[in-house]
């Protein structure tokens, strides 16, 4: 028996494996590592939510649900979005429960993109954006944003990359990896550009609740945006529910219907028990969210100040739980910095270039780590830098 000699998918083969993988393998083999490399909360899911899921299992929440997800959950999601963002979506046909934002992202791109369509991705960006564009048959067009301007979405830079083939701009706010939370003004300029040039906005707002300076602005809430915006969100970050794989996507009906079509044939439905847990999260976990956000905010202040004192400067991250400092003071590349820091001081960070070429010269540090560990990590990073000057 020999494998077929016919080539495997060229599109997939052309996509490089995630740069994070190498690091992950290295860090896994070491003991005593303080990890600032994780993109998930260090809190467990609030107990009330877990308890409800256990109960739901005993009551038989082990079946498929309807393709769109439990109606009660969609109603709660739409009510939550209306209350927090001022946007209106119909639970029946404009809101779809997905297996995390990851699935929602894939659905949105596959429903939007025709072969060769261009999707502009402001950088540095989340690692899955470019590959998902490619898997959908599109062409990702990276456009670097300026660290000196806090990685704000600069509509002028994006306008310079627009062509007749531009189908959408895909971005996250607050951002993984920079922590940048976009202002209403910058989003308004982007929406005006989208209207003028006629493209869609795919807005990943998974970190919306983790906003520390000012309040979150939802893209779809900007006048003129709703009809051309896909909203991606979920429960992983705000409710510390990463492993449950439950998120949602909201969009105008014609596009939502196409996403629904892909979803019904590929995923069928999000996990039933996770949907029940998500209902409980929306119903009862608000105090837990408030407490976690307050905790992240404290760590953010302490950590960003600590980085700054080490000469690892970064624009103040307004959201998410990442700092994306410049490491130019060390004279090292991102990869070397991360590799040597892990090897010598056992602190895991993610090299910035995995978030796009413009991330070079930076590393992503997650402060979703207990305070004493964060402080210890800062000390170790201090020793690491001291040995180099």
């Amino acid at each position: 028996m020999a494998p077929s000699r016919k080539p495997l998918s060229r599109v997939v083969e052309a996509c490089p494996p995630s740069g994070i993988r190498k690091f992950f393998d290295l860090a896994q083999t070491m003991k005593g590592v303080i990890t600032l490399g994780v993109g998930e909360p260090d809190f467990p899911t609030p107990w009330g939510v877990r308890e409800m899921a256990i109960h739901a299992l005993t009551r038989g929440a082990t079946t498929y649900t309807g393709n769109s997800g439990l109606l009660e959950l969609r109603e709660l999601i739409c009510a939550d979005l209306a209350a927090r963002n001022g946007t209106t979506y119909r639970p029946a046909d404009e809101c779809l429960v997905t297996s995390g934002v990851s699935e929602g992202l894939d659905l949105a791109l596959r429903a939007l993109v025709n072969p060769g369509d261009e999707v502009i991705v402001p950088e540095p960006s989340y690692v899955a954006y470019q590959p998902c564009v490619a898997f959908a048959g599109g062409v990702g067009v990276p456009v670097p944003m300026d660290p000196a301007e806090g990685y704000r979405l600069d509509a002028d830079r994006i306008a310079a990359a627009v062509t007749p083939r531009t189908k959408a701009v895909l971005f996250g706010s607050p951002s993984n990896p920079t922590g940048a939370a976009q202002s209403a003004e910058d989003l308004t300029a982007l929406v005006a550009l989208a209207e003028r040039e006629d493209f869609w906005l795919v807005s990943d707002e998974i970190y919306d609740r983790l906003t520390y300076t000012g309040t979150h602005t939802s893209t779809a809430a900007i006048p003129g945006a709703w009809d051309r915006t896909v909203l991606l969100n979920g429960f992983s970050k705000a409710y510390a529910m990463t492993g449950w794989r439950v998120g949602y996507v909201c969009a105008p009906e014609p596009l939502a219907a196409l996403m629904h079509r892909i979803h019904q044939y590929t995923m069928l439905c999000a996990p039933h028990v996770s949907q029940v847990a998500a209902i409980e999260a929306l119903r009862s976990a608000e105090p837990d969210v408030t407490e976690m956000v307050a905790d992240y905010d404290r760590r953010r202040r302490l950590f960003v100040k600590g980085l700054d004192e080490l000469g690892l400067t970064c624009p103040e991250p307004g959201g998410a739980f990442y700092a994306f400092p410049s490491i130019r003071a060390s004279g090292l590349s991102s990869q070397d910095f991360a590799e040597q820091l892990l090897g010598e001081q056992k602190v895991a960070v993610v090299p910035g270039d995995v978030f796009g070429p413009s991330g070079e010269g930076h590393v992503r540090c997650s402060y979703a780590t207990a305070l004493p560990l964060l402080e210890e990590a800062l000390e170790r990073m201090g020793r690491f830098l001291a040995a180099r000057t």
Binding site: Q28, G37, E40, D42, A294, R298, R299, R301, A348, V350
Partner: protein, 159 residues
């Protein structure tokens, strides 16, 4: 400003400098706010939560439901205060339900606690009945879980 209190509530040893770093409030303002709260009695004292079981210390706690004949015009206040003044009493609360006061008594042995309830507590004027429940095990105290923390199951590097 409430931020300062929530930091102190989880770590009574947090210095003003550290609180300033965590909250973004200027260190001077932190000092001033704490001083004002201490003066006003908003901050009563700085406390350490100790897991006595883990320390291996033999200490006996009982919750005692106390029925009181309230005093005309004064209600429960006088009796509650008289009870609260005993060194053996850790806490006194007025509660709704069949009994009136729920108090926490601490001693070094069951006999000591039992003697205190029989001889002192039930003898306090206007106390008409007591019902004693010895504490067997603490699982959570003062909002602090005393069971082992859940292990961090996250992988060390994730996008």
């Amino acid at each position: 400003m409430r931020e300062i209190l929530s930091v102190l509530e989880s770590d009574a040893r947090a210095t003003p400098e550290r609180i300033a770093a965590l909250t973004g409030i200027a260190e001077d303002e932190v000092r001033a706010a704490i001083a004002a709260w201490e003066a006003d009695g908003v901050i009563r004292r700085y406390k350490t939560v100790i897991d006595r079981d883990r320390l291996g210390e033999d200490r006996v706690t009982a919750f005692v439901d106390v029925t009181v004949a309230p005093e005309r015009g004064r209600g429960f206040d006088d009796v509650a205060e008289r009870i609260a003044r005993f060194r053996e009493i850790r806490a006194v609360h007025l509660v709704s339900g069949a009994q009136d006061l729920r108090v926490e008594v601490e001693g070094s042995s069951m006999k000591e606690v039992a003697d205190f309830v029989a001889q002192k507590l039930s003898g306090v004027e206007r106390v008409t009945a007591t019902s004693t429940h010895f504490l067997l095990r603490r699982y959570k105290d003062d909002g602090q879980l005393l069971t082992d923390p859940e292990p961090d199951q996250r992988l060390s590097v994730m996008p």
